[in-house]
Structures are given as C-alpha cells and as structure tokens.
Symmetry: C2
C-alpha cells in the first residue's frame, strides 16, 4: 500500500468555491488518496491567515469565517499570503507537497491577479490548481512551460464546465487522440437566459434569477456580452488546438441584443438559440468564436437547456465525442479542484 | 525522458478489429508512448502463428492475411496460441511486457472463450486488453481480482461505446466520484434500426444495412433481442455499481416486437423510442434493465440517433454527467484497444 501523500494547501481568494472545497475535502475524508492541512488562506475581505503547522479548516468553511490574522490587505492579499507562506514552506515546496489553490475574483480583461499568483507559486515550487479561466485563457503556454520547468502541476479542470472532466477527458482518458475542433454551450448563465426567454421570460428577469443563485458572474456583463464564453473558448483553443490566443482574439457576440421575438420565432421553427463557443484548426490557421447560433432540433447542442453545459470535440481516432454536464454549481466547481488535487497526489504517490 | 516500454503483443482472434488495431498502431507510430512487436496471432480460420522474435505485422494487417504456420486449430486456436506463447515469453511476462489482446467471436450466453483466455493470460503474468463484453459481463470481479493478484492490467475500454472512454472517464478523469445509476443508448444496431423505422424503413431492411456495414453482431438476434444491450448493462453495473451479475440477470426486452405503427405514433407525439440500458443501486439492491423506452423530446437520450451512442452517469459530486459517441465503427473499437495499451505502457514507464 502506497502511503498517502500529505499536501499543504494555500487557498488564495477564499470565497464560496474555496469554502465548498474545504467542506468537500471534509465530506470525502474516507476516500481521498492524500492527507492535507490548510496552511493559509486569504481574501480581499478576510485578509491573510497563515500557519505553517496548519490552520483549523473548520474555522474557514463557514460563510462568515472569523479569525484572519492580518485583515485589510485588500486586492494585495494574494501576494501577501504567497510572499509570507512560500518561503516559510520552502522545504515542503521542494518536496512537491505544497499546492496553491487559486480562486480569486478575476479581472476578465487581463486574467489578473490570477496569472501573477500562478507564476509566483510555480516559481517557488508549489503546484497550482485553479478554477479561474484567466491563466489558461491569457497565458496557457507560458504557464504550462513554467510548470514543466519547475516539475510542478498547473491544473485548471474547473475552468470550463465546472468539475466535469473536459481536460482530463482528452489528456488522460483519450491518450494519443488529436482534437481538430471543439463546439460547446459552456456559459450557464446565457444558456439559462435563452431557455427562459423561449418561455417568454424577459432577459432581465432570468438574469436576476442567475444572480440570486450565485451562478452569474459578479459582473453580469461578463456573461451577457459573451466574455465568459470567449474566455472559455480561448482556454479550449489554447489547450486543444495549440492556439496562442487570448479572449481578446476570439470573435465575440454576446446575447444582450437578442430580440425576444426573433428568439421565439427560432424556437417555433423547432430550432434553439444558444450561445456557442467554438474553434477549429485548419493547418496553421485557428479560428475561435463565441456567438449566439440557431441550432437545428437534431443538433446535440440544441437539447442543452437550462443549467446544462455540453462540449463536443472533433477527433481523429474517435470522430466526434461529447461530454455533457446536466447539473452545475458550487459543488461541481469545488469537486474539479478536489479532482486536480487528487491528480497531484497520484503523481506524488508513484 | 522516460524510455518507451516495449510490449510483446499476442492477438487472440485476429479479425477485423485486430487488423484495424495493427494498422492503427502503424499509423500512430510517431505518437505512441511504447514500442511493440507482434509476437503471435491466431483465429479460427487462420490458425496460429507465433514467433517470440516478432512476426512481420504488415503480413497480418490485410483482410486476407497469409502465412499462419499452423492452420486448422478452429475454436481451440486461442488456447493453442496461449499455450505455446506464454511459456516461451516467460521472462517478458515476468517483466510485465506481454499483452494479450482478446478479440475472439463471443458466445454471448457464456462469455467464452474470452473468459478462459483472460484467465490463462493473467495467470501467466500477461496483461489483458479486450474488446469483448463477455469477460466483464460474466466475470468482472473474479477477473479484476485475478489481475490484482497478478499485478497485471485487465482492461476493456472498447467493450462499451467502442473506444469512447466510458470506464476511464470514471476511473481516471473523475477520481473519487461515486456512481449510483447509469442510463444509456449503447447498442448501435438497434439505435439505427429504430431511427430508420421512424422514417418508415422496415426493420429487416435497416438490419440488413447494419449487417452489410459490419456493425450488427455476427448473430443479429444478439442485437435485436437485446442481448448486446443487456451484456453492456451487466458490464456497466458490475463496474460502476459494484453489482455481481451476468447478462442473464438483466431484465431484458429486445426490439423484435416493436410495432412500426406504434413507433411512428410515439415519434409523431414528439417522443423517441430507443433501446435503453439502465441500472441503479439503491442500498444493497441493484436493478439492471435493457428495454425499449419512449423518451420525451427533451430527454438527452432522445437526440441519440442513427449510429450515435450515449451514456449518462448519476454521480454524487457532479450530478448527472454524459458522454456521447457521435461516430462509431472499427477505428473507434481498435482505438479503444490502443488506448488500453497506452495505459499499460504509462504504468510501466513510471
């Protein structure tokens, strides 16, 4: 029996996702292939808490966590935590047992501060798992190369379709397969809004429901104007099509200007309007889009409704393969982080 | 750089799938993480060919392979090859570098001769990869335990949905997730027949097309009477639900008695009739079925048409997750075997 590796976790940007991860780790304790301690946490509102011997995770699972030792760090909290924690955990970093969990609020136009946190962590010898799209959308190749040089993991399974395994499907479960194109409905808020509008619900009402459920981005224009769908398209293109793009390079149309009457006419004709992220490689050329598309009734993306997501990959050996997420939410996103931690521990156990 | 492990392959039951695997290995030579030699092949019609130094694979890729050294072994060819080859490859077996690729024609009522071949191979220290449903449908737990004791792999990714990663999705890409139920359209022939019948094509005509394309089972009653769907349900139940069943324990209804008029009425009402394999665990009780089901238009299985397959898993951490195969066929099945070989080589490279 291989001993279970022990991981020292630093949660940068402890919010709803990070807190759900802490409770999921607790609920899963009997089936984790690793042991863990919470070495540090930070957030804009909580400030910074760090103890190399381990904080009491139970103190940090609740929605109103108490006890940050150094409050008031604001947006610099992530840098403050990493600057303090990584040198103090130098030996644990050298052994490959430190993981930075990056879940800060993202500046979608630049991918920061997540990218800076990823660089700092990898350069200090920590692994990184992130639910943020920013790092892989803006700097995938740079960060993957940095991780490779450091001999550490840079994983972001939660960045697209929550914890449903999009990236490990290709890298682990379909070894040697080449992806030439992708096509998906991967923005939950817009999928929900368009489905609701088919029933005559106004866009603003549907958006308000998504905000109330905590599914819409903090700034809902990121959903409605297609930025989230474009950022996910950039991640998928960078990873699957070896593209070197940022979300700014994605041809992008949001759903803000979708006319309710036109949408109902499309639906009455048996079609479905969905915000589709797609990309394809054709020789040296890669094109990547995020835009509303009228889908024929027999298109597998046309049945993706409500809170569902789906992604189809065009591959050489397997033809078109799809993966579908029928339920999305906080637990799924937190599970994606947990699955990435498991991948790191499996690697350490070898 | 890890050296690429070298694998000695024994193809038991060299038919269309085995030949496609040999050509796919050739086409993929620049991206395989292993090297390989074809140590032996056999089939009912070809007899047995074995050379510990390696046969010329090019001789065996064609539809009319020539040169079997000992023809006429009939159904005992598999046992004859293994009895000769495994002792001769004793040292390679001990090093974990021999893989038996099991692709014989299956006796669907018993799972033989595949199960006997798997036992013989594992007990001699060879890994086993198989495209046959029989071993996991009739004897999954016994064979998995035997592989575990021997420290060898028993892999069967191709047994359900060709090479689309059903089993590695759960074991590799969704670590720690528990599956409580599954539900899928996984028999291509019946899916095609029911889709064609919606257009008014007679069942016999659609079945003849599937036979002409080589997709229907050699004995088409295995498809039409639901045996294939039941065998796949048994595999899925044994692997995902920890059931201890055989296909004979599956509640089974085929499509032979589907009334064309009733099917068109279902279709006219916006529903789709599909042969669904499903199972669920409820405490200590597991129930497993294969039967035609009228699916509502918004059911994700309702859009699975023609040659498509799809499987949905109910999980604890991720809710319902689906995987969809839009194209099926010989290359997909052969790729599943190649992916299993890659898994073995990844393990050896550690």
């Amino acid at each position: 029996v291989t001993p279970r590796p022990s991981l020292h976790l630093l949660v940068v940007g402890l919010g709803r996702v990070g807190r759900r991860l802490l409770s999921l780790l607790d609920e899963s304790h009997d089936r984790l292939p690793f042991t863990w301690s919470l070495a540090g946490v930070c957030s804009r509102s909580l400030g910074v808490a760090f103890d190399p011997a381990g904080l009491d995770a139970a103190d940090w699972r609740g929605a109103t966590a108490m006890g940050a030792t150094r409050a008031g760090a604001g947006t610099a909290a992530g840098a403050a935590l990493l600057d303090e924690a990584l040198p103090a955990l130098r030996r644990e970093c050298a052994a490959g047992h430190v993981v930075v969990i990056e879940t800060t609020v993202l500046d979608a136009a630049r991918g920061e501060p997540a990218i800076a946190h990823v660089r700092t962590a990898l350069d200090a010898g920590a692994h990184v798992v992130t639910a943020n799209k920013g790092p892989a959308a803006f700097a995938f190749h740079e960060l993957a190369a940095r991780a490779e040089r450091a001999g550490r993991a840079f994983l972001f399974e939660s960045a697209v379709m929550d914890g449903v395994p999009v990236f490990s499907l290709a890298t682990e479960a379909m070894p040697g397969v080449r992806v030439s194109a992708f096509r998906g409905v991967v923005n939950t808020t817009c999928g929900y809004i368009l489905t609701a509008m088919e029933r005559g619900v106004p866009m603003a009402t549907a958006l308000a429901e998504m905000q109330a459920q905590g599914i819409a981005e903090a700034d809902p224009t990121l959903d409605v104007d297609g930025w989230d769908a474009a950022a996910k398209a950039a991640v998928l293109a960078n990873v699957f099509l070896d593209a070197r793009i940022t979300p700014l390079d994605v041809s992008r149309t949001g759903i803000r200007d979708v006319d309710p009457e036109a949408l109902r006419r499309v639906a009455a004709a048996g079609q479905r309007l969905r915000l589709v992220s797609w990309g394809r490689r054709d020789g040296a050329r890669v094109e990547v889009h995020a835009a509303p598309v009228a889908l024929a009734a027999d298109d597998p993306l046309a049945v993706v409704s409500g809170l569902e997501n789906a992604l189809y990959l065009a591959t050489d050996h397997l033809g078109e393969v799809g993966i579908v997420q029928r339920d999305g939410g906080l637990t799924q996103t937190a599970y994606g982080l947990l699955a990435d931690l498991t991948r790191i521990s499996r690697h350490l156990a070898r």
